[in-house]
């Protein structure tokens, strides 16, 4: 059992990581992340990079959906905007990588703010569908603005290179993507200790009350959309450097559903939830494939026979987790933590 977390100053109370235990675990986690690439093979590095990209995007979506209460189903299309920005900047202008990523974020933020305009009038599910509309409209632009996006065949880009170091392999990209993911997650956690973040939460809880309290809804809702899209844009930019081919079909609508699923399964309005959700949604299909692999010595051609079963199990897991814990994996995590904090007493 852990006791005595009394705070002596406001600064200590407001700290992002308020207990030594947390800090120790975090340091361990960072160390593991830093050492991981030297022990893992290509496949695990690839998955780690993919998870990190998804973490950035899901964190962004959580800002607008989990913290501000505006359901968005356009995240994949926003990532597409970022990816195209990077692809065009890289192939046409050859500007530096980090600048491209920032530009991707900025342009996507602008697009996101425009898409967010209906949010002032339209609420709840109607808004969710309005964002679907924007995502289809963006898809149309990707597929038909031939002079910039090269239509359906898309754009291939060279590997990212910073100061002569080439980021082509997952091993190298890991050191580009994962630090950015860390940065993104920490900025997001900090956001909710500021006035802006608090305003978002107030809007989520009751937007009319928030307005009465002096929060200009238009500005903050659009800001939330813009911020969320900034994350999507950066994630999309990294995606472009990671896969190095950007086509309109790279960002289908189901990808947006994937991100929303990650937010909900992980836990709405929880940064930890974003991480857990991204990991869950990306890794569970892979883990299920490992399961199929284990079965193959016993069952001839398990791959062909069990693949549909995997689809079923994946859906079943989502349902099961949500019925068991509607507040997502973050809540399960908290419960486990509480158990250890209070042990040997009952929670």
């Amino acid at each position: 059992m852990r006791i005595a977390t009394a705070k002596e100053s406001y600064a200590a109370d407001e700290a992002l990581f308020d207990t030594p235990t947390q800090r120790v675990w975090l340091a361990l986690f960072v160390a593991v992340c830093a050492l991981f690439p030297f022990t893992a093979n290509e496949y695990w590095l690839y998955m780690a990079c993919l998870v990190a990209i998804h973490v950035i995007s899901v964190t962004g979506l959580n800002i607008v959906t989990g913290f501000t209460g505006l359901v968005s189903l356009g995240q994949a299309a926003f990532m597409g905007v970022g990816a195209y920005t990077v692809a065009v900047a890289e192939t046409r202008f050859g500007t530096p990588v980090l600048l491209n990523l920032i530009a991707a974020g900025a342009i996507t933020a602008a697009v996101g703010a425009v898409v967010g305009i209906p949010s002032l009038r339209v609420k709840g599910l109607y808004l969710a569908i309005a964002t679907i509309a924007s995502s289809f409209i963006l898809h149309f632009v990707f597929a038909n603005w031939n002079s910039v996006t090269h239509g359906v065949s898309g754009i291939s880009l060279p590997p990212a290179s910073i100061l002569g170091v080439e980021f082509g392999r997952p091993f190298a990209l890991y050191f580009l993507i994962v630090p950015i993911a860390f940065l993104a997650v920490f900025s997001a956690s900090n956001l909710f200790r500021t006035r802006i973040g608090r305003a978002f939460i107030a809007i989520r809880d009751r937007d009319i009350s928030a307005e009465v309290l002096g929060i200009p809804l238009l500005r903050y809702k659009l800001m939330s959309f813009a911020l969320s899209s900034f994350y999507a844009g950066v994630a999309g930019g990294l995606w472009a450097y990671f896969f190095r081919v950007v086509t309109p079909e790279s960002f289908p609508f189901v990808y947006s559903i994937f991100f929303l699923a990650a937010v909900i399964v992980g836990g709405m309005g929880s940064i930890l939830g974003s991480i857990l959700g991204a990991v869950f949604m990306t890794m569970v299909p892979e883990v299920l494939k490992l399961g199929v692999g284990v079965m193959s010595p016993f069952l001839s051609d398990a791959v062909a026979l069990l693949s549909p079963v995997r689809t079923i199990v994946f859906g079943g897991l989502i349902i099961g987790f949500l019925i068991f814990e509607p507040h997502g994996l973050a809540e399960i995590w908290r419960r486990i933590r509480r158990f250890f904090h209070l042990w040997p007493f009952k929670t």
Binding site: Y43, F243, P308
Partner: protein
């Protein structure tokens, strides 16, 4: 030898590793790996291809392998998603020394291309016949076991130009990368052959009802309508309504919409559907076809066209591997591709009804088949057409 604690431990470990799905593999096995779309929108093809590759590998292994080396095939499902395909690629290539790879989509082929060239250890083919991939300079280690999409349409156009010079043509395609692929160049090709493209109809990928498109087609009144970018739907509905309206147009399709059993389920309306097929059908008995006979002996029931695609792809993989090994060279990507391009007047054992020569990334050969609803079978309607001849 008495069982000591140490040997027991070793035994247990050995069983554990075997059970964990890492069967002991000889170092000189020839490994074919694949990102297979066994679920998702393209599962129909993935399942067929998967079986085709397995069967050819089995035939070769039963006959003693390639130059005494065993062939191993490993694959995982991708759900037809590019990120999962790349994940499978990374997984299979880090677990095995892969020599030959099967990719599931155009997107994957394009995404993995730089990596493929960097590794230089394997040659790749796949389910995509995208025109863009038919470029040995940009895709030096890839090929496709048939004509690319533009060549498929080209074969149809050549057939049309021969049977009905100056005919009016309509293109109907889906609004996807797959659907749009051959349309631009094919229009130019049609013009060159003196054919008149009267209308181009685009259907959104979610389209169910095609009544308005039929009305458009009726106004344009073409002699031939060429579909591209579909597997089955919405072709039967098009043909049904065209029949109701008494349109004179004949309907044609490309490889992925040519499977016999799919059309068999459509019934009466399927009658007269034509399309380009780079391979012969499972039941095709004309002439000598030892490979088809082997397939029929292994699998008594009908096998789909994707099955034949997987089968032939594997045949070309292993023929290339054989040529590399016989030449005493190292089994790597460039050597495999060079061996593939040395294939000249090659007899595929009846899978393709004419000897093939592979000079680039594709095999620009095909034949027009026509569905006969009475006999419930696709029947040949032309000779083998070789483009560029």
């Amino acid at each position: 030898m008495s069982i000591t604690r140490r040997t027991a431990l070793a035994l247990a470990l050995a069983t554990a590793t075997t059970l964990a799905g890492a069967p002991a593999r000889a170092a000189d096995d020839i490994v074919i790996a694949g990102s297979m779309p066994l679920t998702g929108v393209f599962a129909f093809a993935g399942i067929g291809v998967h079986a085709g590759i397995q069967d050819y590998v089995k035939i070769v292994n039963d006959a003693g392998g390639i130059a005494g080396r065993k062939v191993v095939y490993v694959a995982e499902d991708t759900a037809y998603k590019v990120d999962q395909s790349v994940a499978v690629f990374n997984k299979l290539t880090s677990q095995n020394k892969v020599n030959l790879y099967y990719g599931d989509s155009t997107g994957f082929a394009k995404t993995i291309n730089p990596e493929l060239n960097r590794l230089g250890t394997m040659m790749m083919a796949g389910a995509s016949f995208a025109t863009e991939l038919n470029d040995p300079k940009a895709y030096p280690l890839q090929f496709m076991a048939g004509p690319d999409y533009t060549e498929m349409v080209g074969i149809l156009l050549q057939y049309i130009a021969k049977t009905k010079p100056g005919a009016k043509i309509a293109f109907v395609h889906s609004d996807t990368e797959f659907g749009r692929d051959p349309i631009g160049p094919s229009e130019a090709h049609a013009k060159k052959l003196g054919l008149d493209v009267v209308v181009k109809i685009v259907t959104p990928p979610t389209a169910v009802d095609v009544s308005t498109e039929i009305l458009k087609l009726r106004r344009a009144d073409p002699d031939f309508t060429i579909f591209h970018g579909y597997v089955l739907a919405p072709l039967p509905e098009f043909m049904n309504q065209a029949k109701q309206l008494g349109l004179k147009t004949k309907f044609m399709g490309t490889f992925w919409s040519m499977d016999n059993s799919l059309w068999g389920k459509v019934g009466e309306a399927a009658d007269g559907f034509m399309g380009v097929m780079p391979y012969r059908y499972y039941y095709d008995a004309e002439g000598k076809s030892p490979m088809l006979e082997k397939i029929r002996a292994m699998r008594p029931e009908y096998q789909s066209t994707p099955y034949l695609q997987g089968f032939l792809t594997t045949m070309l993989y292993l023929e290339s591997a054989k040529r590399v090994l016989e030449g005493g060279k190292e089994l790597n990507g460039p050597n495999l591709k060079a061996a593939l391009n040395s294939i000249k007047d090659f007899d595929t054992g009846g899978i393709i009804g004419t000897p093939i020569t592979i000079t680039g990334n594709s095999i620009p050969v095909g034949r027009v088949y026509r569905y006969d609803a009475v006999k419930k079978a696709m029947l040949p309607n032309s000779d083998w057409i070789q483009l560029g001849k």
